[in-house]
Symmetry: C2
Subunit: 500 residues, 2 copies
């Protein structure tokens, strides 16, 4: 095949150069290719990768309109090592990668607001085609703008069946021996696995790419989890050389997708084969090889990583207290001076584990707490299901009561495009946020149910009362300076004041 | 009047010696009397007090059956300075004062179990006769076994009217100027008060005594608050001499009632006119003058007192976090190694303040958390009321949904007369208590809603599942060793395992 590449691409779209190359021996470790892309004063170097069947590819995400030149180098002879292509205006709805604006704000690269409301489906991309399609349909009908998921398959309760594919060439242990009583006895050292960590399985990564692309079309960020501890195959204890080879392969394949975020780990502190030095090395390689500086973080089980490390762009927090989670958002943000993304505040559901049996009310309450405290809450769902399909791992459809309330919250938050931060004048018994210019105020009373509240403001405000559970909104008129707002005396009430 | 005293009294009842004495000048500061009571090897000295109208009294609570002798001394001449009386068996239901058995347990002096489930009605005793009667009726119909209330009247929102009486002779400021908008501007320094701190108003204390007695008959402990900051009369900033005179007068009058507890203050840390040295002096005088060593503590607003002080018998805690209160009970108990009495974990109601607008569900949840974590939760209620009668201050009737659930909890706890302490083998996602001998286990799932739970026990257990909100109890049979309990997947479920 003569190398192929498109002559036109949209800004923040994926430019892909494809060519044939050697197939003998092990191209994954014996061959390489890379390209330098330049436009104006910008020059970016991107690694290519072997995609199997003799096909090699280089991907690139242009970030400005104009004519780009590229120059390829490779470990094997190539035709057409130089070329140009034109980058046009971004597609409608395409705003580029998400960036950190400040402690309280995530924005798209073009400056437009990004409202981060996440969900988690750890291995949705490794389920059947039907289930993947169903998950995407569910996502298209909900307010979530980010989804966390793993590149590696997952071994855990409710996660005993075989994934759609494996990342490496080889064969897995026999999963037919697993039951929900004995699964805990199987781990990364279990016998019966036979993997070649030097040979990737391109089909596995192609599937993930189709998912990342589909998410991009829905305006949803793909928060990719690089490593995790729930393992019966040995992927959590590969030699460092294999870890870093895998990492570079993943970066070469995925980083040109504008909607990729990097999560070094789910629950890094449960991964007993990796030291802090290992994580820092992974972060270093990631920083050196991702040409686009996608958002980077690492997620804890018990102990937070040191989010003040320079490579960490935002806090990716799993709550580590049974009772207080989103309630601590503003404290964490002030401490780390980075956006707080609440990547696990427990899940709505009814399974046996305390992290997976919240009511819809409590999940929704945590979303409001997190959002009005200047952070970005994340959802998940774990209902007992006759076929064992739990959103939290497999995707599918949603059964809970929080998603439609999260949509309602999203509608309200989108009316404050400049974003919210904690109101420093909040009383101890309210959750209070204010827009940066001080023109919009939101108050939330959580599980409390005041019959009225007194306000002492300056100026004139249009007042709206929300029942965040029943999704009602009432504009109750104009109020000035010191005033009393009568409230229904129910939990989950919010008030908005808009300065006139 | 020839001195009068009864020749027979019940154990832990009140023996009262009455006589006439001087009325000229100021008997409260110029006269004194006291008595030494002895029986066997026990000798106790009790101060008497002037009760107005030329009447002097000495009260004494005997704590063993037998013949007691007494000898009176006084600042004035007396007939019959010596006498004897017989102490008979305690009345049915009379178990003596409450004592601390260990970190986790309060018991009556006779060793029988005392289940502490408190409520708060700060100035119920200073309301109209009708309201006091109504409060006692309400208490008789509920499960509360302790009530916190003040000796001094209270000035605060919903507490602007005149109390039934004042502790001192004098005249108060004009309360007709007060509104719920301006009350905050009036405080202990407000003009218009004219009090003689050297002259007590016996009627005020007699009323409190009638209330303490009535509580005693209902089996309810009277947790008397000696000082508090909510003041428009100057009672919170008297000279130390007046504080201590008042304290000795209160001890002389009230300490012979078996059901008295001493709370040095409500929210001591808001009383800006008193230093830690003042509180320690008050504690010292209390310890020296209370012959019966009734339970003693001091209650905070923001900052806990140092409950490790030797004079403190138990922690009297107001929660100082909006979200976590009873959830911390076991941590506090382990830290202070004294029983934890949760004297304010916010109130069920719908007023504007965050401490006074919990749902019944949340109040009940906090009771279960506190009780199963080895402590003693306290209730309160603050519903907006057309006549401004809020249980929290005035008593009256109850309007909330938690009291009947607290009764349900009390029934379950009374089936574990040996008491509960935290189960050290509790999982992070359950609240688990165990009886000292390890024969009864209680598990509570709080706001979580597991569809089932797995247990790994040794032996055979009778299993009961409770819906703590709907007050249902289901004995589901016998289970042995490792077993799974199916649950309804609703919040507020508890399980009891009784070893067979």
């Amino acid at each position: 095949m003569v190398p192929y590449y498109p002559r036109e691409v949209d800004c923040w779209g994926v430019f892909e150069y494809s060519c044939n190359g050697p197939t003998e021996n092990n191209p994954f470790i014996e061959q390489w290719l890379k390209a330098e892309f330049s436009c104006g004063r910008e020059t970016i170097c991107a690694d290519g990768f072997y995609d199997g069947d003799g096909l090699y590819r280089i991907r690139f995400m242009p970030s400005s309109e104009g004519v780009y030149q590229f120059h390829i180098t490779a470990s094997f002879p190539l035709e057409n090592m130089d070329g140009t292509f034109t980058v046009g205006a971004p597609k409608a709805g395409q705003h580029g990668p998400v960036r950190v604006a400040d402690t309280w704000r995530l924005v798209y690269e073009d400056g437009s607001p990004y409202l981060c409301l996440g969900t988690t489906c750890y291995v949705w991309a490794l389920q059947s085609d039907e289930l993947v399609t169903e998950t995407l349909k569910t996502l298209s009908q909900n307010a979530f703008t980010k989804i966390r998921f793993c590149i590696f398959p997952k071994h855990y309760a409710y996660n005993l069946h075989e994934p759609y594919s494996y990342p490496f060439v080889g064969t897995p242990m026999d999963s037919s021996v697993l039951t929900d009583q004995n699964f805990d006895a199987y781990n990364e050292h279990s016998a019966g696995n036979n993997w070649d960590f030097t040979r990737f399985n391109p089909a596995h990564f192609q599937r993930l790419e189709r998912c990342i692309e589909a998410l991009g079309k829905l305006g949803i960020e793909a928060d990719l989890i690089l490593f995790h501890p729930y393992d019966r195959w040995g992927f959590s204890c590969m030699p460092q050389e294999a870890d870093l080879r895998y990492l570079r392969y993943v970066i070469a394949r995925f980083s040109a997708y504008h909607n990729v975020w990097w999560s070094l780990a789910n629950e890094y502190d449960l991964m007993k084969h990796k030291t802090l030095a290992d994580w820092e090395k992974i972060a270093q390689v990631l920083c050196e090889n991702d040409p686009y500086s996608h958002l980077r973080s690492i997620h804890n089980c018990f102990h937070f990583y040191d989010y003040s490390r320079p490579w960490v762009t935002h806090c990716s927090i799993q709550r580590n207290d049974l009772y207080k989670s989103a309630e601590l958002t503003n404290q964490w943000a002030v401490h780390y001076r980075k956006p707080v993304v609440l990547d696990e505040i427990a899940y709505e559901g009814n399974i046996q584990y305390g992290w997976g049996n919240l009511t819809g009310e409590e999940m929704t309450r945590r979303f409001w707490e997190g959002a009005l405290r200047g952070g970005y809450p994340g959802h998940g769902e774990t209902f007992l299901h006759p076929s064992g399909i739990l959103w939290w791992s497999h995707g599918g459809t949603l059964h809970g009561e929080s998603p439609e309330r999260i949509r309602f919250l999203a509608e309200i938050l989108r009316e404050v495009p400049e974003g919210l931060q904690p109101n420093p004048e909040a009383s101890w018994d309210e959750v209070a946020a204010v827009s940066p210019a001080g023109t919009q105020y939101l108050y939330y009373y959580s599980f409390m149910r005041p019959g009225f509240r007194d306000f002492h403001m300056k100026g004139r405000y249009a007042v709206t009362v929300y029942d965040t559970w029943n999704r009602t909104k009432e504009d109750i008129g104009m109020y000035s300076d010191s005033f009393r707002i009568q409230l229904p005396g129910k939990p989950y009430i919010a008030i908005r004041l808009q300065k006139q």
